[in-house]
Amino acid sequence: MRLNILFAMMVAVSISLNARNVTIHAVDRPAAEVFQDLMTQTGMNFGYPANLLDGITVTVSASNQSLKSVLKQMFGGTDIEFKISGDNVLLKRSTLAPVPAHPARSGIPYNRVDTAKQLDEVVVVSRLESPAVETSEIGASKLTAGEITSIPVIFGEPDVIKALQYRPGVSDGIESMAGMYVHGGNADQNLYMLDNVPLYQVNHFGGLFSAFNVDAIRYIDFFTSSVPARYDGRLSSFLDVRTSHGRPDGHHGSVKLGLTSGTFNIGGPIGSRTTYNVALRRSWFELLTLPMVAIMNSATEDHIRFRYDFMDFNANIRHRFSDSTTGFIGFYFGNDELHSGDNSDSDFGYAYCDNDKYDFNWGNIMAQAGVIQRFTSDLSAEFTAAFTRYYSGMSNAESCTIKSNGDTLYSEWSRIKTANSINDLIGRGDFTWRPSDNSTVRFGAGFTLHSFLPSGTRYEYSTGSLNVEARDSTWRYMAGEFNAYIEDDWRISDRIMANIGLHTSLFHIDGRTHGGLSPRLSVCYRPIDGWAVKGAYTRTVQYVHQLSQSYLALPSDRWIPITGTLRPQTADKVALGAYWMSANGEWSASVEGYYKWMHNLVDYRDEYYLRPPLEMWNAALTVGRGTARGIDFMLERTVGPVTGQLAYSLAWSDRTFPDKNQGKTFPARFDNRHAIKLLVNWRINRKVDINVAWVGHSGNRFTLQPQSWEAPDGDQVPLRTSVNNYQLPFYHRLDLSFTVRNSRGYWNFGLYNAYCRRNAVAINRGYKTVTKFSPGVVSVDRYPVFRKVSLLPVIPSVSYTWQF
């Protein structure tokens, strides 16, 4: 999609010098597509300026011929030269070509100017390679690791989800959190995938950081409006994060030291057929908290304990068995842990000991193995077996002992433990077939065996001869999900393209089987060069939803399958878009409109918290509907020393539930009417970049309760009002980052909320105190006032990344 990323790279999955004979037949096919075929067949690296192949189509017919011969066929008589050097193929124009002077927004350290180094760049094999005017997708985008890194973020932690928050139509939710509310959807309506395997837990530290380590990422594909038939299972968006495989030309990596975490990443070859990549990230809040706790404990008899950390680990290995067969295994582990408590000892005649311990851990594990098989030059497949596990565990243990002269006079202890998990076993086959040069058919099927444990709680209590043990009534649910899909990328003519697809699914749980049929259609018409008009219809189906009492990502959040009277959530979405790209590819613009109808949405009903927590979760829920509509505008400059994007969204989103807000329609929490997002990357020279990000949007909706009444006990109680009845003040924030490179790596300096805007996240009810002095009398009066709650002031950050 991003045409002008200066040195777009396509790197083969492994190296085989013997794989240079290729078979390919193409008539007037885009050169970039042919290159993808060649890449798959040869496993070689291709490097060329991004706009080198703009609009170039090639005709080639070769059966088991050398790569050199094929390239000669393709580019003979043109001004494009190629050079095969080792495992690399370099292409360039023989005369001065309009190559941009500077790379695109990914201007950060990943982009170097010398060609030899360019082959070491990030691998890009996204299906969204072509520019928007040349595809039928609406609301789709691809981001590389470099682009993600270039966006200033809090604590200088590059973040996939926060990068996507700058896309038009994506609301960021609560300030600084890695939430994503796409086109009026909910936070649980986004499918996050790591190498096409779903992850349920994608946050660290309550959502302050996302769980994707950017150092381990090649690129991400992000779909919102027109969704390929391959994807389903969520209503609003699909995010496929593709990880690095490691480079075949040697061991390379990086070490990064930041304020909150450190990362280590290394990748390279193992022999001639295998590559690997390993990335580890871990927080080090302990460096701050452990000394603080020690100091606090030294000053008191009570001893507190506190430790929080998060980590994530990615590992990938790829092995090329033969010219046509490649195997891969991947592993991901992301985990958060919080341990706290206190221990107090006292002696007032009796020895008194009181211990409290709180332990929380939550995260996601994913493992997968697969084979990529090329059957013929037109047919290839990827077979994958995967396991993904989401888990959260919380426990609280308390004990109290009273002793006298060594004898225990009294003791009691209690422990509550809760577990919430999802285990998915996945088997899948995905095929790509090119029956003609104008058609690419993708089809496949898969089965997922889900095991849900929404809430397993065990409570134990003991004092003397009394022992109590209680468990809740919620047990494990097994579910089977079958999916099959087919789609065709069809180039009907030079001016008309279409993607037609169908995804079907069956979800069996609790003795019931739910079916889902998700047709997909997107059509692109190019009236003249550089312009495109598109339309799309997408239906999506969702069988699981997340219950959360907050806008944070907490271990108490539960993923719940559809059981009882719940039915699958569905969404129907139509979208229209117009796209323009300048002749030299420097500028592009788009406008996309959408209307989305969401059915069988699930939310907590009014006063749900008065329901007993261990009651079946359905009792606290209500099922309703929602609509979202809006227009997204986008202007991008992707070439030159100053690149960036300007996005504006005009949107509406509402919800209607029979048992919420007394059945009346109300605006969604993140119904931000206007949203403006600006990203600018200024590459001052080869060593220094400045990145600027500014966001402004209508304030989030908030349930303001302005009135009070006096309760029977005399307390003040807020009077019920309609849900999300108040719009918070306009939100805006500026983030800055500076990158300074040296021969070994680069420094990154950041300022989050640079002008220290105190944005409101809530209006709460508090008091102000007024102290009055009069002769001989000091009085303190307390007055009730509304208060604007703001979260984050300006936050500086610094990090250093050493590359090797």
Binding site: Y308, L338, F360, Q549, Q707, W709, N764
Partner: protein, 339 residues
Amino acid sequence: MRYPYLFAALLALPLAGCYQEYQPEVDIQPVLCINSIITAGEPVEVEVSRTWLYSDVAGERNHSVPDACVTITANGLPVGEDYIPVEGDQIHILATSQRFGQAEASVTVPRSAQVDTLTVTPRFTDVWYQNDYDYWIIDADFDMSVILTLTDIDKGDNFYHYDCNSYRELSSTETMQWYLSPGTLLYKAVPVFSDHIGLLESVGGADADGFTFFTDRSFANESYTLRLYYHNARIRITVPVDSAAEAIQCGFNFDLNSISPSYYNWVNYVWQTTMGYIGDLGNVGLGEPAPGYSNVSTGAGVVAARAVNRHSISLAPFLQALADSLDALPPSSDLYMER
């Protein structure tokens, strides 16, 4: 004890933030508020007030409604001031005001709970006893086991409130000192007292201390035995020797009140917003604010009902047995027994 370690960490961000006084531009329309806790067998009292803007100090100080008019109907018929509600009565309260409109609420007086058995067993752990000279003195700590078996009222949702208190007032005169306390109830030992506590609150250390309201959801239409344990109960009596027999005539009232759903929802709301995390999250914008629970048409006020089922248990037999056993010991001016 609620110990919000979790949020001490996860809400570190709000701590770095700040509050600024703010006056939102909102139009409000004050409405009538009705409060009434109706007890079977007692006259009905109704309080009518009005709502006010939270930041309106004058409204906070005075939110009375002088022109309020209250109409009470029971089982569809208007009743007067001499009306005494009984179990099963369906009571409707209507309040009107020319300025603030009208409000209404209905409640059914619940049927009294059935207590099948009640067994109280004190176990003295620390006793100071004196039975000579002029005064009879006993100062004893004891643990107390209470086993109360109840039968659920019917198949519907029923709500209960347990309470225990001394049926003799604390008193102190020149010649007598008298004190009785049930001590500390081990709330954790009664699972139904924790029915309302959510997962996050549980693992965050919140407990049911002080909350003895419960539902029949775990024993609908069946019998259930409450096993209650009191720790550090204490009795202290100092009386002239010849008054000892009368002085030990003391004990506890054990109330098992059946309460209306609105009563339970109200106390549950109070717990959730003061001890739970609902209020904390809503206050800082990280969760939905929780509106006050109300079963009044305007959303302001609580009209609830209860039926009291009281059982009194005397400690006199236990105290007498204790005194007798101590009197049987070899003569001494002071007797001290430790467990």
